[in-house]
C-alpha cells in the first residue's frame, strides 16, 4: 500500500520534495507488496499531510506540531508559556457569582461531579499509631477568642458602619482564625507546621473545553474551541510541600451524571474578553510548596444571605457556595497539576486533591475536590471516562 501510494505521488510530482521523490523511486523496487508494510522500520520518510495547505489534514498536522513542542518543552515554565502565549477571546468565569444555578453550569465547564457530604475517610492503617485525641475545647476557645476579638474587644478608630463590616471585621477575623487553627492543629499534622500561608494571593487558571461554531467575523462558520479563564483571589490558602493523599482512586467511576447545558455559556451570563492567559497557584513554579491543602473564601456583601432572601432567591444560597467551591478548587487543583507538567494532552497520572472552606462570616461550608482529569478539550475528551469530583456539605453555622 505504501509503495503504491509512493508511486502515485511520484508520478504527480507536486508537493513532494526532490529528496523524498528520489528516495521513493530508489526504495520502490525493493518493496514487494503489502506484507512488507508489516516491517518494523519503514525505510522511507513518513508520508504525512502538508503543513501549509488549506485543508483539515494540514490543520491537524499543525496542531500536532504545536502539541509536540509542548511535549518537548524542557521546563514547566516553558510548557506553560507555549500553552498560554496565544491570546484569543475567552469566557471569564467568576467563582463568586450571582448567576442563577451557576453551580450546574460550572460543573459542565469543569467536568465535575458534585456529591453531598464529605468523602469517605481513608482506611485506618494498622502500622501507624492512633492519633492523639483532638482537643476540641482548646480549638473552640481559640475560635471564640478570634471572633470576640474582632467583633467586641478590639477598639477601632471609628465605629464601623454596616456596609463596611464585612471587610473591616469579618476579613481580619478569618485571617486570625486560620492562623490560630493552623498553629493549634500543627501538633497533629506536622505538614501544617511547615506549610505556607497565603493571604489574598491570586489564583489563575486557563483551560479549553468544548467547541462552538463561530457566528460572525472573518472566521465565520468554522469550529473553534471554547476558552475559559478563572481569576480568583481566595482570602487565605495553605500550601504544603507534599501532596495530599487521594480520596478515591483515579479511575473511580461515579454513577452521578454531569449536567449538560444545551445553550452557549453566554446565557449564564458569561462574557468574553481577551487578555493575558495566566496559570498561577499563588506562587511561581520554583516554590517547593507547590501542592495545595486548603483554601478559605469569604463571600462578598453582594452575595450575602439577607440580600438573596430579599430577591426571592432562597434556593440560590447553597448554589452560591457550591459554585464558588467548584470553580475555585478546580482552578487551584488544575493549576497545581499544570505546575507538575500535566496538561490536556498529557493527563494527570495521580489525582490532585485540595480542600476548601467557604464562609460569609456566619455560615461555613466545607468542600473537598479531587482532580482526576485535565483532558477537557474536545480532542482529548473523546474517550475519557474520568470525572473530577467535588464533595460538599450544607452550610453550618
Amino acid at each position: 500500500m505504501a509503495a503504491a501510494r509512493c508511486w502515485r505521488l511520484v508520478l504527480r510530482g507536486s508537493g513532494l520534495s526532490l529528496h523524498t521523490a528520489a528516495e521513493a523511486a530508489v526504495k520502490a523496487p525493493e518493496v514487494t507488496g503489502p506484507d512488507v508494510a508489516a516491517a518494523p522500520v519503514a525505510r522511507y520518510p513518513p508520508v504525512v499531510a502538508s503543513l501549509t495547505a488549506d485543508s483539515k489534514a494540514a490543520r491537524q498536522r499543525r496542531v500536532e506540531r504545536w502539541q509536540a513542542t509542548v511535549h518537548a518543552a524542557k521546563s514547566v515554565d516553558e510548557k506553560l508559556r507555549i500553552l498560554t502565549k496565544m491570546q484569543f477571546m475567552k469566557y471569564v468565569v467568576y467563582p463568586q457569582t450571582f448567576a442563577l444555578n451557576a453551580d450546574r453550569w460550572y460543573q459542565s465547564f469543569t467536568k465535575t461531579v458534585f456529591l453531598s457530604g464529605l468523602p469517605p475517610p481513608p482506611p485506618a492503617r494498622p502500622d501507624t499509631e492512633p492519633a492523639p485525641a483532638l482537643d476540641v475545647v482548646a480549638l473552640r476557645d481559640a475560635a471564640c477568642d478570634c471572633l470576640l476579638q474582632e467583633h467586641f474587644f478590639l477598639r477601632r478608630k471609628k465605629r464601623v458602619p454596616l456596609y463596611l463590616e464585612h471587610e473591616a471585621i469579618t476579613s481580619p477575623f478569618l485571617d486570625q482564625l486560620v492562623a490560630s487553627l493552623t498553629g493549634l492543629l500543627s501538633a497533629r499534622n506536622p505538614a501544617l507546621a511547615n506549610a505556607a500561608l497565603d493571604c489574598k494571593r491570586p489564583v489563575h487558571f486557563y483551560w479549553l473545553r468544548g467547541e462552538e461554531i463561530i457566528s460572525h467575523g472573518h472566521r465565520k462558520g468554522r469550529v473553534d474551541a471554547l476558552r475559559y479563564q478563572i481569576n480568583d483571589k481566595p482570602h487565605n490558602q495553605i500550601r504544603i510541600s507534599k501532596q495530599l493523599p487521594e480520596f478515591v482512586p483515579l479511575d473511580y467511576s461515579v454513577p452521578v451524571e454531569i449536567p449538560v447545558m444545551n445553550c452557549k455559556p453566554d446565557k449564564l451570563p458569561l462574557f468574553k474578553r481577551q487578555y493575558e492567559n495566566t496559570i498561577f497557584i499563588g506562587t511561581k513554579t520554583a516554590d517547593p510548596h507547590c501542592y495545595g491543602h486548603t483554601q478559605f473564601h469569604l463571600l462578598p456583601d453582594k452575595l450575602k444571605r439577607e440580600r438573596l432572601l430579599k430577591q426571592n432567591c432562597a434556593d440560590q444560597i447553597e448554589v452560591v457556595f457550591r459554585a464558588n467551591a467548584i470553580a475555585s478548587l478546580f482552578a487551584w487543583t488544575g493549576a497545581q497539576a499544570m505546575y507538575q507538567g500535566f496538561w490536556s494532552e498529557a493527563d494527570v497520572t495521580r489525582p490532585f486533591v485540595s480542600q476548601g472552606v467557604i464562609t460569609d462570616g456566619k455560615y461555613f461550608s466545607f468542600f473537598c475536590y479531587q482532580l482526576n482529569t485535565l483532558a477537557l478539550t474536545a480532542q482529548a475528551d473523546q474517550n475519557n471516562p474520568r470525572k473530577n469530583i467535588c464533595w460538599g456539605t450544607q452550610r453550618c453555622q
Partner: protein, 423 residues
C-alpha cells in the same frame, strides 16, 4: 475673585451699573453674587391681609391646593433637625467638648521626630543600650531553638516574598513587605510543636492606642494604631535586674538644645486624657508582646528613615507599656516593682530594627530618678540585595536570581524575640 483690588472692582461695578460692561459681556460684579441663570427667583410678597393686625387670614393651606380668593399661607421656615454628613460643618475648636487650654503634643504613626532616637529617649525618660539583651541573644544562639533547615527556610521565604508570590516579574515593596513579615512569623510559629505555650498568643491589627503623660510640664500623648501587634496571655518577664534599674538613676538624659523636645509632634488642644490600650476589659490576651511596624511605601521619601523608624518604635512600645502599667498598677506615678516589658520589630522588607523596652517607672514628670531601659539592635540586614532577574554580561550570568549578602543572624534574632517569654 476676578479682580484682586477692591477699588478696581468698584470702578467696574460703577461702569457696569449702566447696563452691560465693556464689550457687551455681563458685568464683572455679576459673578460675585452668583450666575444670574442659577439665581433662585424671589418669593412673592405676602398678601396685604397679613398687614392687618389682629386678623386671622383664611388660607388655602388646609385644602392642599391653590384656591383663588383665599390668602397665600405663610409657613414658618422649616428647620431640618438633621444635616447629611456631607454638609455638616465642624464646630469651632473652642466649642468642642474636649477642648482644653493646655496644648497636648500628640505622636501618631506618621510623626517624624527631628532628633530621632535622642528625642524619643528624652520624651520617654529612657536609657539606651546598644544591642539586644543577653537573655534574648542566648535564645538566638541556643541550637535547641533553631528550626530544622532554618537557613533554607528563610531563603525560601525571601524568594517567596521578593519574587514568587505575584505574577509580576518584580513585585513592589507594598506587596512584599507584609508578605515577608507574615511568612517570617509563620516560620517562627512552626516552633509551636516544641513550645506549646506559643499557642497562648494572638495577632491583632488596627487597635487604637492612647496614653498621655507629663514630661516637664508638657503633655505628651501617643495616639493611633501601630500596625500588627502580638498579644499574649502571660506577661514578659523583666530583663534588667533591680541593681541595673537602680543604676539608671545616675544616667543623665541627653538634651538637644536649642531644638525643642516637642518638635515633630502634633500640637492640639482637643484631646482626651483617658488611657486606652485598644482593647476592652476582659480581653483574654491582655499583655502586648511585640509590635510589628512596617514601612512598606513604594517611594523612598514616603518611608521613614531608620532613625525615625526607631524613634517611632520606641514611642509606640512605650505607649503600650505605659497603658498596660496604668491598667495593672493604677494611675499614680511611681516606680514599678514588676517592670513591664514590650518588644518591637520595625522593617522595610530588607533592613530590620529590633527593640526591647522595659518600663521601670511611671514617674516621668521629672528628669531625676529611675529611668526606663531600651535595648536597640539597629540596621540588621536580612540580605544585601535581591536580583529578581539574572544579571547577564556578555552572555554569561554574573549574578543569579536570588538574594546577595544573606545574613542568617537577623532571622535568629527575629526568632529569639518571638520565642522570648514562651521558652
Amino acid at each position: 475673585m476676578a479682580l484682586a483690588s477692591r477699588s478696581a472692582r468698584l470702578a467696574l461695578a460703577r461702569l457696569g451699573r449702566l447696563g452691560l460692561g465693556s464689550c457687551g459681556a455681563p458685568r464683572r460684579g455679576a459673578y460675585e453674587w452668583g450666575v444670574r441663570s442659577t439665581r433662585k427667583p424671589e418669593p412673592p410678597p405676602p398678601d396685604r391681609v397679613y398687614e392687618i393686625p389682629g386678623l386671622e387670614p383664611i388660607t388655602y393651606a388646609g385644602k392642599m391646593h391653590f384656591m383663588p380668593g383665599l390668602a397665600r399661607p405663610v409657613f414658618p421656615p422649616w428647620d431640618p433637625d438633621w444635616t447629611p454628613p456631607k454638609f455638616r460643618r465642624l464646630p469651632p475648636l473652642h466649642e468642642h467638648p474636649l477642648y482644653k487650654d493646655q496644648a497636648c503634643y500628640v505622636f501618631h504613626q506618621r510623626c517624624r521626630l527631628l532628633e530621632g532616637v535622642k528625642q524619643a529617649l528624652w520624651l520617654t525618660k529612657t536609657k539606651l543600650i546598644e544591642g539586644l539583651p543577653e537573655k534574648v541573644l542566648s535564645l538566638a544562639d541556643d541550637p535547641r531553638n533553631h528550626i530544622e533547615n532554618q537557613d533554607e527556610c528563610v531563603l525560601n521565604v525571601i524568594f517567596h516574598a521578593r519574587l514568587w508570590h505575584s505574577t509580576e516579574d518584580i513585585p513592589k515593596r507594598e506587596t512584599y513587605c507584609p508578605v515577608i513579615v507574615d511568612s517570617l512569623i509563620q516560620l517562627c510559629k512552626s516552633q509551636i510543636l516544641k513550645h506549646p505555650s506559643l499557642a497562648r498568643r494572638i495577632c491583632a491589627q488596627n487597635n487604637m492606642l492612647s496614653t498621655t503623660w507629663n514630661r516637664e510640664s508638657t503633655l505628651i500623648q501617643v495616639h493611633g494604631s501601630s500596625g500588627a501587634q502580638l498579644n499574649a496571655k502571660d506577661p514578659l518577664p523583666p530583663i534588667a535586674s533591680q541593681e541595673e534599674v537602680e543604676a539608671t538613676k545616675n544616667h543623665v538624659l541627653e538634651t538637644f538644645y536649642p531644638i525643642s523636645p516637642t518638635v515633630g509632634l502634633q500640637e492640639c488642644n482637643v484631646y482626651d486624657v483617658n488611657d486606652d490600650t485598644g482593647f476592652r476589659e476582659g480581653y483574654p490576651y491582655p499583655y502586648p508582646h511585640t509590635l510589628y511596624l512596617l514601612e512598606s511605601a513604594n517611594l523612598r521619601p514616603h518611608r521613614f528613615q531608620p532613625d525615625q523608624l526607631r524613634a517611632k518604635m520606641i514611642l509606640f512600645a512605650f505607649g503600650n507599656a505605659l497603658a498596660q502599667a496604668r491598667l495593672l498598677y493604677g494611675n499614680d506615678t511611681k516606680v514599678l516593682e514588676q517592670p513591664v516589658v514590650v518588644q518591637s520589630v520595625g522593617t522595610d522588607g530588607r533592613v530590620f530594627q529590633f527593640l526591647v523596652l522595659q518600663l521601670n517607672t511611671t514617674d516621668l514628670a521629672s528628669d531625676e530618678g529611675v529611668k526606663n531601659l531600651v535595648w536597640i539592635d539597629s540596621d540588621q540586614l536580612l540580605y544585601e540585595h535581591f536580583w529578581c532577574l539574572p544579571v547577564v554580561r556578555r552572555k554569561a550570568v554574573v549574578e543569579p536570581v536570588g538574594p546577595t549578602g544573606f545574613q542568617p543572624e537577623t532571622f535568629r534574632k527575629f526568632l529569639a524575640l518571638y520565642l522570648h517569654g514562651a521558652v
